[in-house]
Symmetry: C2
Subunit: 474 residues, 2 copies
């Protein structure tokens, strides 16, 4: 047995990934199986797999063993960041989005929507949710049919507080206010620290839902370019904060929607410190934080928040069920103001669904479900990437997110994403065009693709059709 074997073995495995013998996201042979097959030591097999991990082609995953992440034949590069200079701008996304079929409700059969980044039914722990709902209705008391506390159900808040352990936080139930989804948490946080006409710093590209929320609250934005590999530039952020009168920042720190980037721990820490030093509220949207593909839960900006200037917002919409409309907010020093706004907007969130969710968390079902959901989402992201590489014209750049469930795709310069969407809709396919993700008028040739489909022939055909439409516009 000689050492050079491991490279040969690695090459063989690489070839089998490239020709789909082992599809992306599926389990590769175990170390023992490789050793037996090639008649080498387990150490040699390990070296082969390690080489492929170093090349970024594989991941080692608890229980599933080794899993292919991408083909070495792919030509993907990351999309480039915007070059528009940051400035205070009016938001006007509603004008664009109002003409699109974007209702997040169910789609007619035969329609393939890559528009909404929501959990499709196969990603929802349906039976567990139903059981928890039945339990909640069985255990119901009259009190649960009266107003819930404005802060939210205590059982649920205790469970949410415990989750902060995983991102190195230390929230208590009293730090948390339950909301109707992440968007309500963001909306209440924004209302708590801004007035109409104020400017808010966001990442560019920025989730259109956030831009719409800002627009409806009559706020302005400063879009900070967000590099698909590194995220925002903290020097540039500091400059902006020094130059302009800023009311708040709003960042998706983990797996930015749409470009998937994750802020490093250093940047998170630096932002938390800036918030404190400049007395500048930072609203953090961590709705994708639990959907990480790597070995550990990423931290948050809130992790490093010692003085309560960070307002963390999240929900169970991307993990359990968007239809539950249960989110939460840990608004630090602004908690009383946020509670006052909640009380005068809709009094409190309904008890029943909070009880059901508290049960899913307490019983451990939530964590068990996430252990299955994360590799499933990862696989969907990898497969979608692979088919975009296969069917779209060369020169297309695709984000390589380490979590979340969307891909940010840069098309050839001459492709108009709004035109592409129109054509796609004629073929019963929807995508989110780039111009939705900015108030600058940029991202004309970008699209966001949601990776929430149960992969089948029909979905593959939809990606293929999209690729053909892109070609027709080149």
């Amino acid at each position: 047995m000689k050492d050079f074997h491991y490279i040969e073995i690695a090459n063989r495995i690489e070839a089998m990934i490239n020709n789909d013998t082992y599809p992306l996201g599926e389990k590769l042979p175990s170390l023992r199986a490789v050793s037996e097959h090639f008649k080498v030591s387990v150490g040699t097999s390990l070296k082969a797999y390690s080489l492929l991990i170093d090349k970024g082609l594989l991941a080692s995953r608890e229980k599933s063993g080794y899993v292919p992440l991408r083909k070495s034949t792919g030509h993907t590069e990351q999309p480039v960041a915007t070059s528009a200079a940051p400035a205070i701008r009016e938001v006007n996304v509603s004008r664009i989005i109002s003409k699109m079929p974007v209702d997040a409700g169910p789609h007619p059969p035969g329609f393939i929507s890559f528009f909404n980044a929501s959990l499709e039914t196969h990603m929802i722990p349906f039976n567990a949710v139903r059981r928890s709902l039945q339990k909640a209705s069985r255990d119901l008391t009259g009190t649960h049919l009266q107003y819930e506390s404005t802060m939210g159900n205590l059982l649920l808040r205790e469970q949410i507080a415990r989750l902060s352990f995983y991102w190195n936080g230390s929230l208590s139930a009293n730090d948390i206010l339950v909301t109707n989804g992440t968007l309500e948490a963001l909306s209440l946080s924004l209302r708590a620290v801004t007035s109409p006409g104020d400017a808010v710093v966001v990442e560019s590209p920025c989730y259109y839902g956030i831009l719409q929320c800002l627009e409806q609250l009559k706020l302005k934005v400063i879009e900070l370019p967000c590099d698909p590999e590194d995220g925002i530039n903290i020097r540039q952020l500091e400059e902006i904060v020094d130059t302009y009168d800023i009311a708040a920042c709003l960042f998706i720190s983990n797996f930015n929607n749409p470009n998937g980037v994750i802020l490093s721990d250093e940047k998170k820490k630096w932002i938390a410190e800036l918030a404190w030093k400049r007395q500048l509220p930072v609203i953090e949207d961590d709705v994708y934080g639990e959907l990480y593909f790597g070995p550990v839960r990423p931290t948050t900006i809130k992790t490093y928040d010692k003085h309560g200037w960070v307002m963390l917002c999240a929900s169970f919409s991307k993990t359990v069920a968007s239809g539950f409309r249960i989110g939460w907010c840990a608004p630090g020093r602004f908690i009383e103001k946020v509670a006052q706004l909640k009380a005068t907007t809709n009094v409190a969130t309904a008890s029943v669904l909070q009880l059901s969710l508290a049960d899913l968390l307490t019983s451990g079902t939530y964590q068990r479900h996430l252990r299955k959901l994360r590799p499933l989402v990862h696989k969907q992201v990898l497969l979608t990437t692979q088919y975009i590489e296969q069917y779209f014209p060369s020169g297309v750049r695709i984000s390589q997110p380490e979590g979340g469930m969307v891909l940010w795709v840069e098309l050839p310069k001459q492709v108009d994403a709004l035109k592409l969407q129109k054509l796609a809709l004629e073929h019963h396919i929807n995508i989110a065009p780039g111009p939705l993700f900015s108030s600058t008028g940029g991202y004309r040739n970008y699209i966001r693709i949601s990776c929430n489909k149960h992969w089948n022939r029909q979905v593959e055909q939809a990606v293929r059709k999209l690729g053909n439409l892109v070609r027709s516009l080149c």
Copy 2:
């Protein structure tokens, strides 16, 4: 048998009501029983009861027969309307309310709160709600765990539309948007037609929840005096609309909270026409409309709205369960804007509770429950009135609502309601002090008492204690 008998009979019955032989809200002997007892014809008994109805002491009620409404020995007069001249004012209710224990959640045992006008457990159709929730979780599909349509569940909207028949309306499901309770419906409606700094006309006294909502939306108010017997003066409203720059009106047309007044059909019609003529949005809060004590469901301003300027808001919080947080809005010509705001505030309302409610409505359970709830609430209102008359010092004026579940009480001039509340809290009793219901600083000697208690010795003692505290402040 002589005709004069019927007056004697009426006098006998009146005396038995005054001495509590037949308590308020309880069933009186049937016509047949009266005839047999006094050995008179049924026609004579009918005349006796008719006389008492004319004197306002009785009501004739389906299935329950005749029911005593009030004692003839009572000395109640209605509270007087405010005399503050209408002007544009900043709202500053939060400053007062922030110091009070007002959480709408459950209270500790032994604490008697007359503060919140919410359904207590004995008023909630608990078993029916539980059954409907169990049915909803049994019938659940994956679709129900995805985002509901922003407009709300279609089954529920169809049922809400059918209810409009009872107030002579003709809504269709497409006219209706489901919200998280009435307050969200009001908040979205206000955001749709106003900008911060705008002035909104409201009734005076005005429900503090509405004032707080206006305050948090940075709106100003013009308070229009609302007479406890006649409601607002429409000439005065027209004058205000002509004098000031008004963005919207917001009225509780049926059983105003707190003073219980109902606007006449003529006034409702006139307001609907004014809205159209002046292109002035009128937001109508009809949350108490279903809790009428009379024989028929009152109309709404929306009943007379031909051009979509009336935005009707209501919920199931005062009829089924406040903890459901399901309300709705029929915003007429502003429906697209309201939907846009809903979509960018919390996307949609959760499906499960909408399904459960749709089931309660479809099965007829809702109407059956209301037929029991209305006389129950009426009885609670009558009993509370009676005990306030009995235990409070003379000179106290009490509203005489024909629906809803609150009483507006004018105390002797020298009594400070905020001081009274402080003293009451020391005795584990809470009330809503008058200054909460205005931005004028008026209603210093008024309180609002909720009539949502299952009447027992402890509640009676609490009213008695309150009466003693009022005396101590005289």
